[in-house]
């Protein structure tokens, strides 16, 4: 196998597995709440149904509203295709820079917010303003927690960081623990999961993500929902990449890729199960407590940075 083909497999895999991951979470949640649940394949069925349906649009919707789903989906897909999931050194690894990744996600978010405001409904504008407020707080915290890792790897390139983590002998790093906690908190916030936002709600006062896509229907809605699922899987893969990359293969041979695939599935499934566990046991935060949650994540990542300098540089 050439590394280019593994690269393609990786991107297609993230795309196809994303609805399954969403289904996995909802099934886990259902089981934890003593329900049977709709099954792992339900998000796929929803997507198929939505793709078949006719698109209904507001009369005064501009081109922004029409193009936003495609831009959001493409940007998310591009972000997903550069993140290494199985192979450490892919042909696109030069572009797998964390800052570029954050920028791609910011692009998607920017167009989503524009589309939310475009048709001029109250909910769209409200959702857009909330999303931008919270992301302004979440992004620095996310970059800060990644910089903790970059400090020891001397790079913000994902491939370099992963190689560094795999090659250094295992040790207890308090700074990495802080960075991981902060990163998980941010991932929860960025994907609009409980306790920040409830992806299954349509209760007006608490919506963030759902408020922005309220006016979408048909294939547009399908693309936006699919992009949200890919983003969730992307963040899980990113956490796995940064904090527990062991098992990822350096050569593009069949056995290596197969082992990496199996381990990746186990690790991501474990993360998603923990997410389902937290979502079942926690209530949603009041909206005005979200900035505090996000600044908490920022403080924790900053503590990671400080403890790197305090405890690990001299040692």
């Amino acid at each position: 196998m050439s590394s280019a083909s593994v690269q393609i497999i990786q991107a297609v895999m993230l795309l196809l597995f994303a609805p399954l991951a969403a289904g996995f979470i909802s099934t886990c949640k259902a089981r934890l709440q003593n329900r049977r649940g709709a099954g792992v394949l339900q998000p796929w069925r929803n997507l198929r149904k939505l793709f078949k349906k006719e698109v209904v649009m507001a009369h005064h919707a501009s081109w922004v509203f029409r193009f936003a789903p495609y831009i959001v989906f493409t940007a998310t897909l591009m972000a997903a295709s550069v993140v290494p999931a199985l192979l450490v050194d892919t042909p696109l690894s030069l572009t797998a820079d964390v800052i570029a990744l954050v920028a791609l996600l910011a692009l998607a978010r920017f167009f989503l917010a524009l589309a939310g405001m475009d048709i001029g409904t109250a909910f769209g504008g409200m959702g857009a303003s909330r999303e931008m407020t919270f992301s302004a707080l979440a992004e620095p915290a996310m970059l800060m927690s990644i910089f903790v890792l970059s400090l020891s790897a001397h790079s913000t390139n994902l491939t370099t960081m992963i190689t560094h983590t795999i090659n250094t002998p295992f040790a207890l790093h308090p700074s990495l623990a802080f960075a991981m906690v902060a990163m998980v908190m941010i991932a929860v916030a960025e994907n609009g999961r409980i306790p920040i936002d409830n992806p299954t709600t349509h209760l007006e006062l608490t919506m963030i993500h759902e408020a922005m896509i309220l006016e979408y229907s048909g294939r547009h809605l399908a693309l936006l929902e699919w992009a949200a699922m890919v983003k969730l899987l992307l963040f899980s893969t990113l956490i796995v990449d940064l904090f527990m990359p062991w098992g990822m293969t350096a050569q593009a041979d069949l056995t290596g890729v197969a082992i990496a695939l199996g381990l990746w599935m186990v690790k991501v499934a474990g993360l998603l199960f923990v997410l389902a566990l937290f979502e079942t046991s926690m209530a949603k935060l009041r909206l005005f407590e979200v900035p505090e949650y996000l600044s908490g994540a920022f403080v924790i990542s900053f503590l990671g940075l400080l403890s790197y300098y305090m405890l690990e540089v001299g040692a």
């Binding site: 600044s295 300098y309 001299g314």
Partner: protein
């Protein structure tokens, strides 16, 4: 256990100590403040035990045991009883909003790191890395004392400062002489008991545990005279 693993454990506990100091500042409820305080006490005991194991210092085991019993169990239990009896377990009222406090706390931590760094270079102990964190924790405890309105949270801040000093002693000199440590431990215990009595006195005299009302009361009294 190898020396490297022990050093890593000590570093990990130091990082957790810093985390508990921040968590004490960030809590909204009186009882969760108390839980974090108890956690800090247990962490202190664990650190002392690990350092005792690493340096073969038998006296430190006794300090660890004292920290476990006194700071991890007895003091939180005493304070919890006082909080229950005074019915003040609801909200902690900070003077600054919590994001601002956190930013100041980060600044304080940076500052202590900056001033301790030259001192750290002269030390050869395996616990040298934790000195900056111990200093930061002392300052964070003081920050907690000056940013809270209620007397109880101020007392917890004071006890957190004492915890941090104990931690600093373990880090800087592998523990103080046992006599000194027993003396301090009993001082703290008596102080906590007296604080507990004071809380009741303060409330019966001033009808509130907020420090501002005490000042207002005194100023008002001066006016009368």
């Amino acid at each position: 256990m190898s020396a490297i693993l022990i050093q890593q454990l000590v570093d990990g506990f130091a990082a957790l100590m810093l985390l508990t100091s921040f968590a004490l500042l960030a809590q909204h409820r009186m009882l969760s403040v108390l839980h974090w305080f108890a956690g800090q006490g247990l962490l202190l005991a664990a650190t002392a035990a690990i350092v005792a194991y690493g340096t073969d210092n038998e006296e430190l085991y006794i300090s660890a045991l004292m920290a476990l019993l006194l700071k991890g169990m007895l003091l939180p239990w005493l304070l919890r009883r006082v909080i229950r009896q005074l019915h003040v377990h609801r909200e902690v009222e900070p003077l600054m909003n919590s994001s601002m406090t956190m930013l100041v706390a980060l600044g304080v931590t940076l500052f202590s790191f900056h001033i301790i760094q030259p001192i750290e270079k002269t030390s050869l102990l395996m616990t040298r890395d934790s000195m900056a964190i111990a200093t930061a924790c002392v300052l964070l405890g003081m920050l907690m004392m000056i940013t809270r309105k209620k007397a109880i949270t101020q007392v917890i801040g004071f006890l957190a400062v004492e915890n941090a000093l104990f931690f600093a002693a373990i880090g800087a000199t592998n523990g103080m002489p046992l006599v000194v440590e027993i003396g301090i431990a009993f001082d703290v215990l008596i102080a906590a008991l007296i604080f507990g009595l004071f809380f009741f006195q303060i409330r019966t005299t001033f009808d509130s545990l907020e420090v501002d009302t005490m000042n207002a009361h005194l100023i008002h009294k001066d006016d009368d005279e």
